[in-house]
Subunit: 330 residues, 2 copies
């Protein structure tokens, strides 16, 4: 099995600490990753936090795989300034971006099985000239991806895909179209088949309104937008159901009837996912030519450098990326 | 402790079955209720479903309390037509309404400790001339309630109050005001103090947008509507926090920090409540002069008459009404 590439994320956030903790948790499991990071800062961080993690600079991925059992292998992405926990530094923005670029290059070349990204601080990167709304759009550009990329959040209890994501609730409703629902559903169905090993994925499509609109009394988008998407998808042979009343579609009994919930807006997807399982949520980008996952949290500047960051979500992201990469390699 | 009054609900729905099952579950617990229903139809239902429930016509609440251990006491509200499961009948609409009226009268007179309502079918009642959007508005009228009534959903894991309720998501956003958030929060804080025995209730106010608007990048309502409400409530000495990012405020750790979540729209409140605990959700109407609860589900015409209805939510509604009535009587 190929190693995974783990990016640095914002060096003022909890990413470095999580990388160290992930190595401690995974070193003897067979799952191998290489950090695209600054080896000196990781060594310093390990020492400061009292984590017994030997950090080893490596020259390539093959060497990383060899040393993984005895040290955290790092492909060097030197920082311009010593990072201060909680204080993002424009001087380091270039390295944050370079880490993502190099990880992606390794994945495109087939040297690693996939990319796992530590959290970045978008505001800091924007100031440094980064021109993408987030990781996903940058990765799409780097990989020359065609078509639509979508975010899936996956935990052991639930998979969700928000059709609209980072917009106000008002704008999310205004921008929602049948085509968006269809495109997100197609990408999801195809990814579940190829990467998740689900031969006939069952998609549950949420309504937008309370009670899924109650036959028009509480909103019309179910009739005008969602049902036409369902009809189109069904005609293509995709196993879809809905539009479901949003409040009852995430109970244990309801979840047993589908493999993924296609949601109309960010919180319709994220509330049930995080309410059910805050720690094990993994962000998976579907529609890229490479495997890419990330933990389901941000840079957490408020707790950076304190040694209290929880690596559960990053571990889940590494494990899921490993499983997806393995399935794709077959 | 005073008995509770339990209404009939739509006789073509699962209400009657639930009333019978509730009596079986509660007959020896000390919690007593009287059904405002048609005794013949309940006897017939018990026989048809093989439920060993002796049904006894009583003349008043005192007699109901006496017989409760040995039979389900019923104050007669005769039906005009024999109900057919799953088929609401306009001829019975008058009795459905009368059951609510009589239960409310008993509560206002202090003969019962509170009213628990079985689900009604609003469409059927509208056709029969019922001019209220639902139970709550009708009860407000019957009790001469002043001020705002609000719906709280309570389960052992979470209490939520949706500030906007039965409107499309688009309309819910458009109608949301600071005053509505303030009024709902005041009513909630006062009810938690008086009826729930929480001396200093902690209210968590949700944001409207993803990430609570992310400083305006994902919506402005947190700044323009929610924060002013928080400021007003805080100035009144109410313990409020927020605006919270909606997706992370319902985790176990977050829930431990508040007594009730004030939510901006129906599904923001109902998704976490039902996802966490589908069966034990109880609807409590705050802001009425009487205690009123109801189960958190509808008439379920699709399973009516089949003997498979789950009385868990009605039992929870009866138990909560009993607890609230007891506290109010102190």
């Amino acid at each position: 099995m190929k190693p995974l590439a783990l990016t640095m994320g914002d060096p003022a956030g909890i990413g470095g600490e999580l990388s160290l903790k992930a190595w401690l948790a995974l070193r003897q499991t067979g799952l191998v990753f290489v950090a695209l990071d600054d080896p000196e800062r990781l060594s310093r961080l390990a020492r400061d936090m009292g984590l017994a993690v030997p950090v080893q600079l490596v020259g390539d991925v093959a060497q990383a795989a060899e040393v993984f059992r005895s040290a955290l292998p790092v492909l060097a992405v030197p920082l311009a300034a010593v990072p201060v926990p909680g204080k993002p530094n424009l001087a380091n923005a270039r390295a944050v971006v370079a880490s993502i670029e190099q990880a992606t290059k390794l994945a495109l070349a087939g040297a690693v099985g996939g990319v796992v990204t530590n959290p970045i601080n978008k505001a800091a990167l924007y100031q440094a000239g980064f021109a993408y709304p987030g990781h996903t759009e940058f990765l799409a550009e780097l990989t020359g991806a065609t078509g639509q990329q979508i975010m899936m959040l996956a935990s052991p209890m639930l998979r969700v895909v928000p059709v609209t994501v980072h917009a106000s609730l008002r704008d999310s409703i205004a921008m929602l179209t049948t085509d968006m629902i269809v495109a997100a559903s197609r990408t999801t169905a195809s990814a579940l088949r190829r990467d998740f090993g689900i031969a006939s994925p069952r998609l549950a499509i949420a309504g937008l309104n309370p009670h899924a609109g109650e036959q028009g009394a509480l909103g019309t988008e179910e009739t005008t937008l969602v049902q036409p998407a369902i009809d189109t998808l069904r005609a293509e042979g995709i196993d879809v159901s809905g539009p479901w009343p949003p409040d009852t579609m995430f109970t244990a009994a309801a979840r047993a009837r589908y493999d993924v919930a296609i949601c109309m807006y960010h919180d319709q997807a994220l509330i049930p996912l995080k309410t059910l399982d805050m720690d094990h949520g993994v962000n998976v980008t579907l529609g890229l030519p490479i495997v890419r996952t990330s933990p389901d949290h941000g840079t957490a500047f408020d707790i950076a450098g304190k040694g209290v960051a929880d690596a559960t979500s990053l571990l889940a992201a590494l494990e899921l990326a490993g499983a997806l990469a393995e399935r794709r390699a077959r």
